[in-house]
């Protein structure tokens, strides 16, 4: 059973307190195993590094003991990974431990949607102070969660933050473009600025989405949850009374419809966080999107 090679070439010395290798010196087989666990568990970076570090220490102990028993490094790595079980199954189990959030996390995920529902339900979108305070809150909470391990509920806020930043920069550039048109460069300058800005902003959004998809495409979908609702509402209102007329405050039932939409999205976001299984999470997002379409159909 024992191989001809000892384990010392990889630092697995046989003494009880002998030195053990770091992750960079780990056997390729063990590194691959941990990489497969990581890709199946889809955790946030903080939890992921903690778990990988813990599993790594387990392999160090196990390899040390097997080497002491006379196994070669290759044999020891084979035995250690076999005893651990299939990496994908382990990754899935770890995912299920961490995928279900607490009630407070579910509430946190729902809050940005509810804020939008409140904004439209109480016709507060004409109140500049409310809009400023909401935007500030959304961006602050997003930054806080970004710095604290990017938990699942963070993605709910991230979608709105990106949208807020997009709109703020759009308005600023529009004003700058108008200024330039008036004083320096002739008419139409704002449209040149916009023609540059919109593709750049979309590329930037695309880059962020790709980064999130690399961790887990479901989280990217979760982040994008309000986007279809906003786009469909903009189209529906433009087709109906026209956005300009709506902007002047002429349509109360439109506000109600938008408020209902975001209430539904808030419920879906909370449900998404509370669910453990990936399949159910996908179902929650799909049902929410269909519900949004139904609400738009009913009110627009």
């Amino acid at each position: 059973m024992a191989g001809l090679l000892g384990c010392s070439e990889f630092g697995y010395r046989t003494g009880k307190y002998g030195l053990r290798p770091g992750i960079n010196q780990m056997l390729p087989k063990l590194k691959q195993y941990l990489a497969r666990v990581k890709s199946s568990s889809k955790l946030d970076p903080t939890a992921e590094s903690e778990i990988v570090r813990e599993l790594q220490t387990h392999f160090e102990d196990e390899m040390g003991e097997l080497c002491q028993a006379g196994f070669s490094t290759t044999e020891a790595a084979d035995v250690a990974t076999k005893r651990f079980g299939a990496p994908e199954a382990l990754g899935r189990q770890i995912y299920e431990v961490y995928s279900k959030g607490t009630w407070s996390e579910a509430l946190l995920a729902a809050v940005p949607h509810f804020l939008l529902a409140l904004t439209f339900g109480l016709h507060l979108w004409r109140n500049n102070f409310w809009l400023f305070a909401t935007a500030l809150m959304v961006i602050s909470v997003t930054l806080y969660a970004w710095r604290h391990g990017r938990p699942s509920w963070f993605y709910s806020w991230l979608g709105y933050s990106l949208l807020t930043l997009f709109v703020i920069v759009f308005l600023v550039l529009l004003a700058v473009g108008q200024g330039l048109s008036r004083f320096m460069l002739g008419s139409g300058m704002q449209w040149v600025v916009m023609a540059v800005y919109v593709p750049v902003a979309l590329c930037w959004l695309g880059y962020i989405i790709v980064c999130i998809v690399r961790r887990d495409w479901i989280l990217a979908s979760f982040m994008m949850l309000p986007f279809p609702a906003i786009i469909v509402w903009l189209f529906a209102l433009e087709q109906g009374v026209g956005l300009a007329a709506y902007g002047k405050g002429g349509l109360q039932s439109g506000d109600q419809g938008v408020a209902f939409t975001f209430l539904a999205l808030g419920g879906a976001a909370g449900t998404f966080i509370r669910l453990r299984q990936r399949l159910f999470k996908i179902v929650a997002l799909t049902v929410a999107t269909l519900l949004v379409l139904a609400v738009v159909w009913r009110f627009a």
Partner: protein, 112 residues
């Protein structure tokens, strides 16, 4: 054996809480200790122990802390929390009642 596996599945939390309650310990040590004390009867896929430990930690029954061991390396030691201690006591009582009842039914002569 399927029956044994089902029993083990239902008892994993109890076993882990009991051992951690006796002495703070880390994953590898836990696996070895369970194997040793049960004379090899309990055989886990080792990865499942870590899933169970993280599940127990998430619900607040145990708490993990990185600590340095004598060779200078770090291991994640698990401690029983106050809530974990009370759940362990409940599980222990539950198990005693259950095993006594099973014995009464299956081996009445031994119960004196």
């Amino acid at each position: 054996m399927r029956y044994g596996r089902e029993l083990l599945k239902g008892s994993t939390d109890h076993l882990l809480l009991s051992l951690i309650g006796q002495e703070p310990t880390y994953g590898y040590q836990l696996i070895k200790e369970i194997g040793k004390r049960s004379d090899g009867y309990f055989e886990f896929k080792e990865g499942t122990i870590y899933t169970a430990l993280h599940r127990l930690e998430k619900v607040g029954l145990i708490e993990g802390k990185w600590e340095r061991i004598p060779n200078g390396q770090e291991r994640r030691y698990y401690y029983l929390t106050k809530m974990g201690r009370s759940v362990l006591n409940e599980k222990r009582d539950e198990w005693r009642g259950f095993s006594a009842a099973v014995n009464l039914v299956t081996e009445p002569a031994n119960m004196g």
